[in-house]
Every structure is written in C-alpha cells, then in structure tokens.
C-alpha cells in the first residue's frame, strides 16, 4: 500500500498486536452480507411478506374451490412456481427498503467514511438479496412437494429452484433503484405497488390465460411473466425460450440503469 503513514503517530502498546489482523474478522464484503442478511431476517415484516404470505397464499389458492383432481394437480404445479416467484420478487424488492432505512439513519454516510468502497456496498446489498430470496423459493417448493403432492424429476426441482433464484436479479436492481432514489416512506409504497402490480400482470397469481385479451398480450412483456416462465418451462420439460431470456435481459438492463442513476443521485444528496 502506498498509504502515507502519519509520522508523528507514536508507537503504542497495542501497535505490535495491531499489525496482526485479529482472528474472527473475515473479509469485509462477506461480513457485510452476513450482517445485512441477519438484519433482514430479523425483520418481522420481511418474514411475513417474503415467506409467510406467499406460502399461505399458495396453500390457500391450491386447496380452495377447485374440485376436479386433474385441474387441481395442474394448478398446484403452476401456482407453486407462481407463488415462489411472487415471494422471491417481494424479497428481492425488499432490499430497497433496507437501503431506504439506511439512508434515513444516515448510515449510508457512515459507510462512506469506512474503507468499504461504494461498489462494495451496493454489491453487498445485491448479494444480501440473493440470500434473502431463498426462504420464499424453498418454502413454496417444499410445500408443493409435501402438501400438494407435486411430483417432478430431481433435475426439474433443481433447475426450477436455481432459475427462480437467478431470475431475481432484475428485481433486486429495481428494489435498489427504489431504495436509493426514493425516501423511506415512498420506497415501501413503490415496492408494494411494484410487487402487486407485477405479480398480477405477470400472471404469478392467476394464469394469464384467464386475462382479457389485451392484458394477456401486455403480460408477455412484463419481467414477472418471463420470470415465471423460467420455472414453468421446466415443468413442461423444456428450457426457457429465447424470447423469455431476451425480455428478461432487457428488463435487467433497464433496472440496472435505474439503479445506477438512483445511486448517483443519492450520492450527491446523501
């Protein structure tokens, strides 16, 4: 390191010890992620919105009102992916609520006076979301297998879970954009609106086939419909289509740009 050493800094009793990194202090980024994951999972509101709600809605939707066994098994498969996607979407967006809370506490400024770089802070946030989306995905898929008797090949379970996990990235960036760009109160409103609007329009709750024609056409262009497609295509024994990948990549670029702009704006004012 070329960091200048203050010449007048007197040697002190602790200096010999200070030269050795204390045990138990890992690299900063994993520690930051661990801290934020703990903080997120200790938030009762997050646990309800990010795991309990999608699980409860899944069990409710698949066990009420449908009498025909054939229909019911088909809907259980469809809804398993839909509700896992809905829960993961909410958990990914929630990262923005954390950022807004940090901003409200002045914590983003405090982080800026630590050696942690701004890129590390944002990366840490995104990695946090990559962990906190897992409870929703795991809970709903497990409920599908155990409570609703959904039967899939082992590779299908693995592929569905992994694709639903990877597919949260655009929504994490959308959440980061909301968190950096908006104040605490408006962030939670914006996140809720995004979560509800995108879930419904994307057909995560009710299949898009049941939509009016115009809404069904629109639905194909939403990131959530294509996100759900990642899982639904696996149920159909095929890889996600090129169109799905292209639309998701487009939204990924849009939300990444939004997150970068919002971050820059907040760095100017925060």
């Amino acid at each position: 390191m070329s960091a200048p050493t203050p010449t007048a800094r007197a040697p002190h009793p602790g200096s010999a010890r200070a030269a050795v990194r204390p045990a138990g202090l890992g690299r900063p980024l994993p520690r930051y992620v661990a801290l934020e994951v703990r903080r997120t999972l200790r938030d009762g509101g997050f646990v309800v919105m990010g795991a309990v709600m999608p699980l409860a809605m899944y069990l409710l939707f698949t066990n009420l009102g449908i009498t025909d066994a054939q229909d019911r098994a088909g809907y259980a498969r469809y809804s398993m992916v839909g509700m896992a996607a809905y829960g993961a979407l909410g958990a990914a967006l929630a990262v923005g609520g954390g950022v807004a809370e940090d901003k409200g506490h002045g914590w983003l400024r405090q982080l800026r006076v630590t050696p942690l770089s701004p890129l590390q802070v944002v990366t840490g946030r995104a990695l946090t979301a990559s962990v906190t989306v897992l409870p929703a995905i795991v809970a709903v898929l497990t409920a599908g297998a155990l409570a609703d008797g959904v039967r899939l090949a082992a590779w299908q379970w693995a592929a569905t879970a992994v694709l639903l996990w990877l597919g949260t990235l655009p929504f994490t960036l959308l959440g980061l954009g909301n968190g950096y760009g908006l104040t605490g109160q408006t962030t939670s409103v914006a996140n809720t609106a995004c979560m509800m609007g995108l879930s419904v329009a994307g057909g995560l709750w009710i299949p898009a086939e049941a939509f009016p024609h115009w809404l069904a056409a629109l639905s194909r262009w939403t990131p959530t419909a294509r996100y759900g497609d990642l899982g639904w295509s696996i149920l159909d024994n095929r890889a996600p289509g090129l169109g799905t990948v292209a639309v998701l990549a487009g939204w990924l670029a849009v939300f990444a740009g939004y997150a970068v702009l919002a971050y820059r704006a907040s760095a100017r004012t925060a």
Binding site: M1, P6, A18, P22, R38, R39, D43, W107, T114, P115
Partner: protein, 329 residues
C-alpha cells in the same frame, strides 16, 4: 510545516449552499498526533468543514488534504474513523455484530471488544442496537469510529444530547484514544469542552477561522466574566486599568467590563464608588463572538461604544437556539 506531518489541511476552502456561504475561506491545519477542537455556534460551518475533510462533500474552491492526499484516498486506506452528527447505528443488529463488521472494513483494526471497552460499553456487546439508550448509542458511535484503529478520528459534536456524567465518560474515552498517539478532531459549541480536551482550539464563525490557539489563549480572548454597571453620567476613563479587566465596552449609559477576575474588579469599582445597578454575568456565546468577529482590532480594546447594541440583539437572535459558550467555572 512539512506536508506529510499534517494529518489535516484545509486551505482557503469555500463552500456555498445555494446563496448562503457555509465556508468562506477556511484555513485549518492539524498535525499528526494533535487533538484539535473546532469551536463555534450552530451554523458556523463546523459540520460543513468536517463533511469536506471526510470527502463526503466537495469544496467549491480551495484545497482539502488528509495525510497529504485527497480525503477519499485516506478513507479508503483506513486512516480515518468518524462520528457523524446525524448518523445513527442501524437497527436489528447487535452492538457486537455491528462493531465487528465496521472493524472488518479496516486493514488493521483493533478487536471489537477492545473498541467497546474503550467506549465503555463492553457489557453491551450482545444488546440489540435498537434497545440502546441515547447515551449508549452515542458511545456505540464512538466505538464504531475507533474500532478500525484509524490514525485520525473526526467527531462532529460528539457530546450533543449527553448528560453531564455521560459527557465526562465520553471525554475520558476520547482522551484514551488520543493518548495512543492518534490524531483527533472534534467540534463542539462548549468552550470548556474544547479547553479541557484539546491541545488546540480553532474558533470558527461564519465559515472562517477567527481564532486559533491553546484553550488558555482562547479563554483569555473570549472567556471571562462581564461586569456591567450604570455610568450615571461619569466617563469611562480608568476602567480599562482596573484589576482583571481585559476589555471595556460602553453601551449607552452602561459600561460592560470583560474581566478575568471579577472579584478584584468589583472590589476596585466599589472603592471608587461606581457601583450602580451592578451585574456580574458569565460571558455568553454572543459576547464572545462579538469580541472575536469585531475584526482585526488589537486584543484588549473594546468595540466602539454604542455599536454592539444592534449587533448584540442580532447575535442573540441568531444564537438563541444554540447553547451558550460555557465560560464560567
């Protein structure tokens, strides 16, 4: 002074927010190992100066250097720790978890337990941050500033909202960290805090440094006691030479003497039979700044008679929300 031995250097720094100048050509240097207090009223520019030297904001003009380089380089190298005025620790984590995380971001941190002990909250490591009292949260913020073992800590009004006992404990912690050979810069609007805890005091007013010296020197210039009485038609001659008097000011028919020894001054006044509606009051923040900002007048000469009446009223209005400088013992 050789640049590398300066921990902090601000040269002719200017910063405006809208049309309002927050810093108006501030000069400030701080040698490594030194403890310096920035003393000033609310709105004097202390926080702006601190934000600039931490790299949280950019100056409109002038130079800002930490350890001979730009602030962000010193921050990235882990040479700086800070207690910001309006940064509160985040909820739903424990004191120990948060301190360990901040320590991990520095290249050569101290053990988190050591930082908590230095801050006097070793027993609170397992406590959730949101369950802390105001004073405990303040100490946690100090622990977060020092746990990286940085060469420089910057504390923006660190004792605001603390009671007397907590203040005393806080300054003990700060002096403990300074005694390890570290550099400390803190801001305050209490002259006594500045005097008791800093090697050097820089008084900031309206974005400029208006005085720079040891606490003793500053106290002589801004401190003391005001002895006032009605002149009752008699002139002001001879007042300047009364025992203890450092400055004389005439406000209408009333004389205001600034004195370092009010007992001796009053006894001498009584001996000359000049006691009329006598008042002995500690010099207030506004009085102190009127003296300092009266310009380049040599020390000891009072402001021109009559002038401060309007100025004092304006100063009182501007500073009425701020605690007064505490200059009495």
């Amino acid at each position: 002074m050789a640049t590398p031995s300066n921990a902090v250097r601000l040269a002719q720094v200017r910063k405006k927010f809208g049309a309002v100048p927050a810093l108006d050509g501030l000069d400030l240097t701080l040698a490594a190992g030194e403890t310096l207090a920035l003393l000033g009223r609310n709105g004097a520019g202390k926080s702006t100066a601190i934000n600039l030297l931490l790299g949280l904001d950019e100056p409109d003009a002038g130079r800002v250097e930490l350890f001979g380089g730009p602030p962000h380089a010193a921050v990235a190298a882990g040479l700086v720790g800070a207690m910001l005025q309006d940064a509160r620790p985040i909820p739903r984590v424990t004191v120990g978890e948060l301190t360990a995380f901040v320590a991990s971001t520095y290249p050569l941190p101290m053990r988190p337990a050591e930082a908590l002990a230095l801050a006097g909250i070793a027993e609170l490591a397992a406590r959730r941050v949101d369950k802390l009292s105001g004073g405990q949260a303040q100490r946690l913020r100090f622990a977060l500033a020092v746990t990286g073992n940085p060469a420089l800590i910057v504390l923006d009004e660190p004792t605001a909202a603390l009671d007397v006992e907590a203040r005393r404990a806080f300054w003990r912690s700060m002096r403990g960290y300074a005694a390890r050979g570290n550099t400390v810069l803190f801001s305050t609007h209490y002259l006594e805090e500045a005097d008791e805890n800093a090697d050097r005091v820089v008084v900031v007013d309206r974005g400029r440094a208006v005085a720079d010296g040891t606490g003793e020197q500053i106290k002589q210039r801004v401190g003391g006691t005001l002895v006032s009485f009605d002149l009752a038609g008699r002139g002001s001659e001879g007042l300047r030479s009364l025992p203890g008097v450092t400055a004389v000011e005439i406000r209408g028919d009333r004389a205001v003497l600034r004195t370092g020894d009010s007992d001796a001054t009053v006894v001498a006044l009584a001996a000359t039979d000049r006691v009329r509606r006598l008042a002995v009051t500690p010099a207030s923040l506004e009085d102190a700044f009127l003296t300092l900002t009266a310009g380049t007048r040599p020390q000891g000469e009072g402001p021109p008679s009559g002038e401060p009446a309007g100025g004092a009223a304006a100063g009182g209005a501007a500073g009425s929300a701020a605690p007064h400088l505490e200059v009495s013992r």
